[in-house]
Subunit: 256 residues, 2 copies
């Protein structure tokens, strides 16, 4: 197997495959010579001409350059697998055998993720390739599944809401704390518990707070505290969304 | 010490204080007789006339009835402490000595929280009462601090963003999954990692995804997938917010 790309996804996959006895990472190819040093326990190259022959090529590069991967090397009949949540396998050059290996996780520089628990969503144009890809992914994760493109798109979109947008809410929360000179760290246990709760109940069941309770007095006070117009909009939007979703259940009073 | 109220906050405080050697929960008072059975390891009453004399009364009832607590019993010169994040201590009757004990956590029926790690934010009108309250709270939490009302308000508002609103995003994510027949549980590791990341870096540093990358193609595709008009608004709003916040740093390409 060859990995093309040197970013956070490439690094996390590399680290997991490296310790797997069933998989041999033959080579990592990346344009940035400096980034290749991370992979110096295997062969590396920055010259596409030197890309090795392999049963699978994992293409861990940005979505917008996936379609140009055949400018790098002769991909004819090669099994290419991208790692994108958003793009169809058909974004890859048509003369290749195409597939997708989507690890449903957020990869950030400086954080090592244990991939064992990470769901890997797989797709391939040909049944034999799907077998091969399944055995590859199963060597590093216990949660491998085949998905359709529509399902992968839904998962990616759901990931954007529950990861990217959630993280932005943390940013706003941090700003509010900094303004009043209280450490954002005080919110860490709450944030951890919010995430942990959904293992035990649905988000609908877990919902608490002034919007859920229909507590208009607190809502008015909080809107008044928000100096940033955009944050006020956000506050109104969520309050409306939550009240709408839970209007029927508003007799249940819970504190958050 | 006497607890007035029988909801999730009262229960979690009761369970913590009960196992503390320094504090004696003399009585729990609640209007709902059925709810009192939870507290049957101490004295309980549903009749306000029987409220015992105590050094501290913890008033764990809904915000909108805090001001009427003197209709329950003679509060003159009694030390009353509410648990509200939003309300000033002056919402309590003026003839009492007033304070606030705000546990910065979300309490949901059916989930037991370990309070040791939970920040307790304290306020009291009188210095001696603040000492007493501090020693009380310190017996169940390692993170006790004195805050001003402005600071408590800011923390409560930040909690609404990072807990209530975040949880609503989980709801939206779940809906998207259910629609395409993929289990929401696949997102659990991602949600857990999103929350865990902020222990190591600021939310700004942790931000990833199509909005952060300025990936307009994926943004357009995802908007197209969203059938619910309100969710499209939410998507646009967050994308705008994140792009605005990170516009200067968009050369950094990360995958999520």
């Amino acid at each position: 197997m060859v990995i093309i790309g040197t970013g956070n996804v490439a690094r996390n996959l590399f680290d997991a495959f490296r310790t797997s006895v069933d998989v041999n990472v033959m080579q990592v190819m990346g344009r940035k010579k400096q980034a290749l040093s991370y992979f110096n326990t295997t062969k590396t190259t920055s010259d596409p001409k030197n890309i090795a022959a392999a049963d699978i090529y994992i293409i861990a590069i940005n979505d917008d350059v996936l379609s140009t991967v055949d400018e790098l090397f002769d991909v004819k009949d090669k099994f290419l697998v991208h790692c994108s949540g958003a793009m169809p396998v058909t974004i890859l050059p048509a003369k290749a055998r195409r597939g997708s290996l989507y690890p449903l996780q957020t990869f950030t520089a400086g954080r090592k993720i244990s991939l064992r628990e990470v769901p890997f969503c797989l797709e391939a144009e040909y049944q034999d390739d799907l077998y091969l890809l399944t055995s590859l992914a199963s060597s590093i994760s216990d949660h491998v599944r085949h998905v359709t493109y529509h399902q992968r798109q839904a998962l990616h979109l759901a990931a954007v809401f529950s990861n990217n947008f959630t993280n932005h809410l943390y940013s706003v929360a941090r700003e509010i704390c900094v303004e009043q000179n209280v450490p954002f760290e005080l919110l860490h246990p709450l944030i951890k518990e919010t995430a942990a709760k959904i293992n035990q109940m649905t988000p609908e069941q877990a919902q608490t707070g002034p919007a859920r309770r229909g507590d208009r007095k607190t809502q008015a006070m909080q809107l008044n505290l928000l100096k940033n117009k955009e944050y006020r909009k956000l506050y109104r939007f969520f309050t409306k969304g939550i009240s709408g979703a839970y209007r029927a259940k508003n007799e249940i009073a819970e504190k958050s």
